[in-house]
Every structure is written in C-alpha cells, then in structure tokens.
Symmetry: C2
Subunit: 210 residues, 2 copies
Amino acid sequence: MCQDSLKTYLDDLASTKPAPGGGSAAALAGAVGAALMSKVANFTIGKEKYKAVEEEISGLLDDSELLREDFGRLSSEDIHAYQGLAAAFRMPKETPAEKKERQQKVQQALKEATSVPFEICQDAHKAIKLCLPLVKKGNANLITDSGIAAIMFKCAFESALLNVEINLKSIKDSEFVLKIRKELKPMQKEIDAINQKVNSEVKKHLGGLR
Amino acid sequence: MCQDSLKTYLDDLASTKPAPGGGSAAALAGAVGAALMSKVANFTIGKEKYKAVEEEISGLLDDSELLREDFGRLSSEDIHAYQGLAAAFRMPKETPAEKKERQQKVQQALKEATSVPFEICQDAHKAIKLCLPLVKKGNANLITDSGIAAIMFKCAFESALLNVEINLKSIKDSEFVLKIRKELKPMQKEIDAINQKVNSEVKKHLGGLR
C-alpha cells in the first residue's frame, strides 16, 4: 500500500478493481492507530515533565512502530490473498478430477485468505493493549490521539472479523473453523473492555463531560 | 491529504509534526468508509441480478462519492484549523491589551477548530444512514464491505467526537458549547443503532454465526 498516493488508494478502493477491499482498509485503520500511538510517544519522549516514564514510553514506541509496519504488510498481503482465491475459483470444473482439484485449491486459498484478516485481528488486539499505559502516562496534550488510536484498533478488529467470517463460512475443515473462532472471541471481549477503559481515561481528562 | 503517498501520510501522523493528527485520521476513516460504499455500489450497477435496484444504488453512489470528497476536504482542513489555533496560542500576552486580544483570537480559533471535527461527525452520521439500504440491496458478494463501511463511519464519528470535546473544554461561550453537544448526542445514538442493524444484516448473510 505504501507507494501509492492516498487519492489513488481511495480511488482503487472505490473502484471495481477486486482489491484493495475491506480487508486492506481494516489493516489501514490499524496502521493509522499505530501511527497515532507513535505520535503520542514521540511527543512524550524527551520532555522533562515525562522523564519518569520515558523508558516505558520508548518501549511502547518500538512496539507501535513494529505494529505499524506489520499492518502495512497485511494491507498489501490482503490484496494478494484475494488474488489467490480468485485464481482458484477460475480453475476448470468440467471433469470430476478437475472438480476435485479445484475444490482442494479453493479450500486452501480460503484458509490463506482467512489468515490475513485473522492476523489483523491479532495485531489490533496486541495494539489496543498498549493504549492503556499510553493514555495514562503519555503526553496529556495528545490524550485524544491515544483515545482515537484505541478506536482505530477496535475498528480494525471488527472490520477484519467480518472478512474472517465470510471466509470461514465456506471452509469445510470444521476443526480449523472452530479453532479460529475460539481464539477470536476472547480477543473481541478484551478489545471492547480496553476501548471503554481508554475512553474513560480520556473523558476523565476532558472533565467527565458528555 | 490527497497528493502524499500513504507511507508519507502515516509517517507524518507518527511524527512530532503538529499535524496531521487524530482529526485528520478520523476524516480518513470516513473517506475509507465512503470509498467502500462506492465499491459495493460499483459492483452492483450494471448487473442483471440487481437491475431492480440499479437506480437507487446509483443515487447512493452519487452520495458516497460526494461524502468521500468531503471527508478528504475535512482531512486537509483539520490540519489548517490546528495551525490557526497554534498561531493564536503563540500571540504575545505581556500587556492587558495583548492578553485580551490573544484571548479573543484563541476563542475564535477554538471555535474554528471545533467546526472541522463537528463536520466530520455530521458527515459520518449522513454516511452511515446510507449503509442500511446498501447492505440490504447492494451486491451480496461484497456484503462485508458494506458492513466495514458502517464500522469506519462509527470510528470516524467517535474519533472526531473526542476532538470536538477537547476543544469545547476550553471554549467559554456556553451557548455554543451546549448547542454543539445537543446536536451530537442524538447523532451518536443513531449511529450506534444503525451500525448494529447493518451488522445484523451482515451476520444474517453469514449464517447467523458467532
């Protein structure tokens, strides 16, 4: 996703090109959240007022930059996984042998296509956990940016989750399907809980209004 | 925001440049949502199966493209509004006359800085309302993209709302503050309700799982 202009990316997203689509957009929301975390950290490090937390915030910055890179990778990979799936669907299905081979390739491609949004969910889960120390200890002038980062990660998770589910719907390996769902469920709960906590911290700072 | 590469935009977001920040990121989430709506509409129009809804979906496409443009404008304007506020804060405050003038300019700049995220909230509210007919009548193969669009608009609204509130906190014109809050509250409720309805439609399609 990195070389295109934002305008081109959004034009492609809006177009009848098969990709980028929602999965890539989910990863972009994650990358935006990670960049905002880094901004808050960068505005905290080196300030006398925040000297006591500087080491911890530097660690958070390393993490958010790694996550930002990973969300970027996933945004690109989602495009390729989609192409693999489209290619499998285009395979011939005239003879029983062809049907069988196509079926196998489609199932394999569906699993691969699932792994990208699943990784986006995992990264969003990792990332939102970092928002809680950041909103409490990071530069208070940028507290809404920490809050917005958490909202972006929740958005990335929920968006990617829809794409996980639409793939799972067609996967016949029920063990695989159960395993993925079993991992995602507690993540979703934790994401909601952390987002609420981060939001409470921001509201507290804003004077408990609304 | 339109001419930069995505990589540059995210680098700036992560940096100690004062802008872009969370407000611009909120508008970007809105633009991504609008682009996804357009994708679903573009994959619906011209298909025999969707002939009966073609006119309605064409109208939705016009709306989503206008919203996409407006979110783009707001993403850029947020950067300028922030610069205006920073300039007002830098004004001299030695003499009582200077203090008074600075105070007035800061209050004016705060109102202007509020109007951008407030407009993002308004656009997100307009946009999510279009997701309900789209998820019901648009191309069912792209149903998760309609769902992700709604999630993006909720994310844009909630993100921009934090930036509205941090500005309102310092605005002394209590009539202005009340008026803004009174408009936002019902919007927020409606956004949550519509997002849930859209999500239910998507889940119904995915087989009621999860």
